[in-house]
């Protein structure tokens, strides 16, 4: 009972993920600012933003469904936090079971659907436009991402993240065998998080704020939290699947290596958003179905042939 509460509220659960997400947001914004030769925000900035959003008035336009608009961020937050319980952190896996990778992937795609619904429920023009864009983007990145992420699972012969990490401990990190899969997974993750080169659903200069245009106050704060926690968990997942050879190490070394890998992935994501300009939605669909899907199928074929 006590240990269950500890897992839920403190270590892999709520508190740890919230702190990680705030740290991630600060690091990301700071790195982006430094790439652009700016100073960037101070370390407490994400926390101040979150508290401020919770202190503000809660408004919705006339005709919007308040109950659904309140439930959507809560549902996505709970889905993301639940996914966080199953993702190993530096090899620490309290709830691992066979097939948890599928559960994680399913739970991590709940916020995208809720994001689309949030756009439709809050009746603004830009919200609906952003919502339909987010759904289109979902169809473009999700298929190559899922095919790419099944590469490590096929290679280790198991759908459990812990098992994948153990087999990496004996074979070496999977990024050596599946570099293309890793790149595809990073691109898919950028699409999933709606980060800068693929921030088509919430492009400020095109659709104002995307599906969240009409959201204020605590709901907006919850959405911010969901996005950041999703980013942190996505990075943790990629670290475990492609660089997760630390399972058999001494725990202290594993923690240090895990943090270094996390930081490297954050630098890759921020660098991508600093370098590349936003794609159009048709360019993204073309990229997804003409380039990423065939590449991911090739990668899977290569993995299967290597297994034989």
């Amino acid at each position: 009972m006590i240990s269950g509460l500890f897992y839920l509220l403190l270590f892999p659960g709520l508190l740890f993920q919230v702190i990680c997400s705030l740290f991630f947001e600060w690091l990301d914004r700071k790195l982006l600012a430094r790439f652009q030769r700016r100073v960037g925000p101070p370390w407490f900035q994400p926390l101040a933003d979150l508290i401020k959003l919770f202190s503000k008035e809660d408004l919705l336009p006339e005709g919007a469904n308040d109950l659904v608009a309140t439930l959507l961020p809560l549902i996505s937050l709970s889905a993301v936090l639940t996914a966080g319980l199953y993702i190993p952190i530096a090899g620490f896996t309290p709830f691992s079971f066979e097939g948890d990778l599928i559960v994680i992937l399913f739970l991590m795609s709940v916020p995208t659907l809720a994001y689309y619904l949030a756009g439709v429920v809050s009746v603004g023009v830009y919200s609906i436009l952003g919502g339909s864009r987010s759904l289109l983007q979902f169809f473009s990145y999700e298929v190559p991402l899922l095919i790419a992420l099944s590469g490590p699972a096929i290679m280790s012969g198991s759908w459990s993240v812990e098992q994948i990490m153990i087999s990496q401990g004996s074979m070496g990190p999977f990024i050596l065998f599946q570099p293309v899969g890793f790149v595809l997974a990073v691109v898919g993750l950028i699409g999933k998080l709606k980060r800068d080169p693929l921030d088509i659903p919430k492009a400020k200069s095109e659709v104002v704020g995307g599906p969240l245009t009409e959201f204020t106050g605590a709901k907006m704060g919850l959405w911010h939290l969901v996005m950041n926690i999703q980013a942190v968990l996505g990075i943790f997942l990629l670290t475990n699947l492609y660089l997760g050879w630390t399972k058999t190490f001494n725990p202290l070394v594993a923690v240090v290596v895990f943090i270094i890998e996390f930081l490297v992935l954050v630098v890759i994501l921020s660098g991508a958003s600093a370098i590349y300009a936003r794609l159009r939605i048709d360019q993204l669909a073309g990229l997804g179905w003409r380039i990423l899907v065939p590449l991911s199928l090739l990668q899977i074929g290569f993995v299967i042939l290597m297994g034989i």
């Binding site: 700016r38 101040a48 401020k52 202190s55 503000k56 704020g209 009409e214």
Partner: protein, 158 residues
């Protein structure tokens, strides 16, 4: 005690995280370009927690440039009323403070304070980016001293 603590935390957060929306109510674009300068690496206001937002629903501070023309009056009021409280208004430039050189024109109502309660006036034609940053810092000071001291239910004036 706890209420007081929460109030203090809210006040601190509101002071440290001002999200800004920019509205041009009839400006010559001089002040607008000076506001754009705030985002450049030279002046970088993100180090003070100030971010320019596109939607009024996400914003805390309304930066108004230019005198209020008869045409822009309703739009200005609508943008202001879409913002969630606590919210603040900053008049950027001489024109939005007093009407400037357009003060006696038929098509111009005057400064922003004819329509909205203004918290900070930033003079200058156009005002320098340093002046805008100084005005926003003055607003932060004001928030940390007075908190949310806007008049409730500020009525629309014609």
């Amino acid at each position: 005690m706890i209420n007081n603590l929460i109030k203090k935390a809210y006040q601190w957060a509101q002071k440290k995280s001002l999200w800004v929306i920019h509205f041009n109510s009839g400006s010559c674009n001089g002040c607008d370009i000076e506001i754009l300068d705030l985002l450049t690496p030279r002046y970088d206001v993100e180090r003070l927690g100030i971010v320019v937002e596109a939607s009024p629903r996400h914003a805390d501070v309304l930066l108004v440039t230019g005198p209020v023309t008869r045409q822009a009056k309703d739009g200005l009021w609508q943008i202001y009323s879409q913002m969630p409280s606590p919210k603040w208004v900053v008049a950027v430039g001489s024109c939005s403070s007093t009407g400037g050189i357009f003060a006696n024109s038929d098509t111009v109502l005057g400064g922003v304070d004819k329509i909205l309660p203004v918290d900070v006036y930033i003079p200058g034609c156009p005002c320098r980016p340093e002046a805008v940053i100084n005005g926003l810092l003055k607003l932060q000071e004001r928030i940390s001293i007075n908190g949310d001291d806007r008049p409730e239910n500020f009525a629309k004036r014609d």
